[in-house]
Symmetry: C2
Subunit: 429 residues, 2 copies
Amino acid sequence: MSVNALEENPTSSQTGAAGAVHAAGAAAASPVTPASAAGRTVARLLGMFGAPAVEFVLWNGERISPPGSTPVATVRIKDASTLLGIMRDPGVRFGDAYSDGSIQIEGDLVRFMEEVYRGSARAQQRKSLISNLLGRLLQSAPRRNTLGGSRDNIHHHYDIGNDFYSLWLGRTMAYTCAYYPTPATTLDEAQDAKMHHVCRKMRLRPGETVVEAGFGWGRLAVHMAKYYGVKVRAFNIAKEQIAFAREYARAHGLDRQIEYVEDDYRNIKGNYDAFVSVGMLEHVGVENYRELGRVARGVLGGNGRGLIHSIGRNYPAGLHPWIERRIFPGAEPPSLAQMMEIFEPVNLSVLDVENLRLHYARTLRDWFNLFEQNVEKVRSMFDEKFVRMWRLYLAGSEAAFTTGTLQLFQVLFATADNNDIPATRAHLY
Amino acid sequence: MSVNALEENPTSSQTGAAGAVHAAGAAAASPVTPASAAGRTVARLLGMFGAPAVEFVLWNGERISPPGSTPVATVRIKDASTLLGIMRDPGVRFGDAYSDGSIQIEGDLVRFMEEVYRGSARAQQRKSLISNLLGRLLQSAPRRNTLGGSRDNIHHHYDIGNDFYSLWLGRTMAYTCAYYPTPATTLDEAQDAKMHHVCRKMRLRPGETVVEAGFGWGRLAVHMAKYYGVKVRAFNIAKEQIAFAREYARAHGLDRQIEYVEDDYRNIKGNYDAFVSVGMLEHVGVENYRELGRVARGVLGGNGRGLIHSIGRNYPAGLHPWIERRIFPGAEPPSLAQMMEIFEPVNLSVLDVENLRLHYARTLRDWFNLFEQNVEKVRSMFDEKFVRMWRLYLAGSEAAFTTGTLQLFQVLFATADNNDIPATRAHLY
């Protein structure tokens, strides 16, 4: 695709035959050739991305949308340099342009992102040269998670501020997929239900010991200690979260049952009945899965079992590059085959995999609603650009789960010779 | 390991220091060096296989067992040439020698095989040169499953005779892992429960269409048609099974709802609501998984879903070579990562994986009991060698599941954009 086209005067008419169609309705009714070079560039961009049913409005008022579709949203592009940036690096620059306001989206942001994801999936199915290029653009080579790299990457996201997260994560401060047994379940109930679901899967018993890799704000450890009577040693490298978790456990008299350790999961040692990690694997990096497996296998005894809960994908494809660059540096959701790199080399036995992707869509919707309810506070803590960035991240993530672009895998496992496993999963229901 | 050692006179005493200990009890109490070269060879063999708690008795009366263990069974070796054969190719020749009676095993055959599998696992954990060799010996390069190869391989096992299989498979003639919700569940009830479990996982609805790859004696197709009101097109290449299934469907007035097709799964075409395959994947061969995935994806529409039920392993390791050679030519149980080669390249979404390995151990125990109840009939249909071969296969398979050497995976999947998926799995219980 020629970038030079954009350097032509975007308001000069380059086509003689087909006139510009400025009304979205008319554009949807019949294929037209946009009037300007910029318009034709946008049309090609839409084609590359599987012709999502969205309308673009250029700075000169020209409207472009795929023929035959009724747009779910309208995207206004501020100027030629914004479009040029997107053409150069659509994966990252579209999100940046939305964040700084050079792109405005009218209509439901989630429906817009769903259209983009569905279009991209259509484009990838064609398996053409263009879609292979697209595949490359839509995935990112994440920053490496060495011991030092992980510390930087985790600090970037999780140490934004506990006050900020407490505005929209709900009572539990759980920043992972919740579990909604019914549509009427609230966010807080669903987070509690998720923690019970995880504990029941592991069949935790009073007096047992659990090691947790990546404890967030610490509430799963509290839940396990309080409701299942286990002792927990929990690891995390995000300083603000650790301080928050320690204070909470002290205030609730659980600091003798829970030890929050500031250290990397790679340094976990000792002997435990169970190994649990909810929402950390996304940050581990596929290149470190074997080491994670060795750590998990190394601490589990004869009746050892564990659970890893992670965002995933249907095939190895990485994270959306804008999310990886601006929101979650180093993050990489694995395919199930990639996750098996944790278990297979150390002969851990996978007992149960559950895909909860629509639960994550609902979780994100609930977070988004709380975020919007508190958006003035967020704006006063940060700025408008931060608000828009976070909006795109939450809405885009919801759309990724509703369209099947992202998955949520809970993998229950046990040591290979552990025969103390229930005959059915009826105890979960 | 030197094979020449066996060519020495096995009755001549080669050791001066330690005398032969002939009593198993005494041998268990203290490490001893066996008197003969043959005895030392057996001791080395035991060491290679992780020192299982079994006692060997040689043709000269010499007894060898790992020090410090109480043997669960006694293995009598008829002569030097039997031992020589086992040393050359333990994976295949031990089973052959048991089948032809040159090896006799006193004690519970399942407990014996469990000891062997556990010992092998210990040996593999050591990850030494010897255990790598052992790993190679304990796995087999299966015969290729080309279209013609599959036909030969499947004929070898499944066309032994419907009369034979009906002696020990129970009422349903289901030759796959059953599902025992309670310990009191009988084999026939458990096979029915398995079929319901599979149908419920796929949420079959009246009027829907299902394609089945590898239908065995056809009872799952009958179950789906009868209890779930679906139309089934089912594929198989084992002639005796096909004739049996067609006759049964005709006799029960279901031949308008079920079409049994004699053809390879690779030739499945058309459009269906669901794709199901129970107990065929073991015969497909990992090299054909991508093609199987393309077939499954190709026939499923927007709300498409499916289930594949297969024996598996915790890591890629193939089948025991004796089983592959004598019982199931071409068979290869995959690891979960290997199974993902079916789904990931075609963007099918894995919703649920359940590991039912202890259910397969129980199924095999029930089959074994029926087999023994009917062993005189089996002997009259075949011969003593066949009886012993089948005994070893059933007992060894039970042990493989109780020790975690084999797994049983049920993988439920759906097209990537299918959002008609239940919030929880409560409907299964």
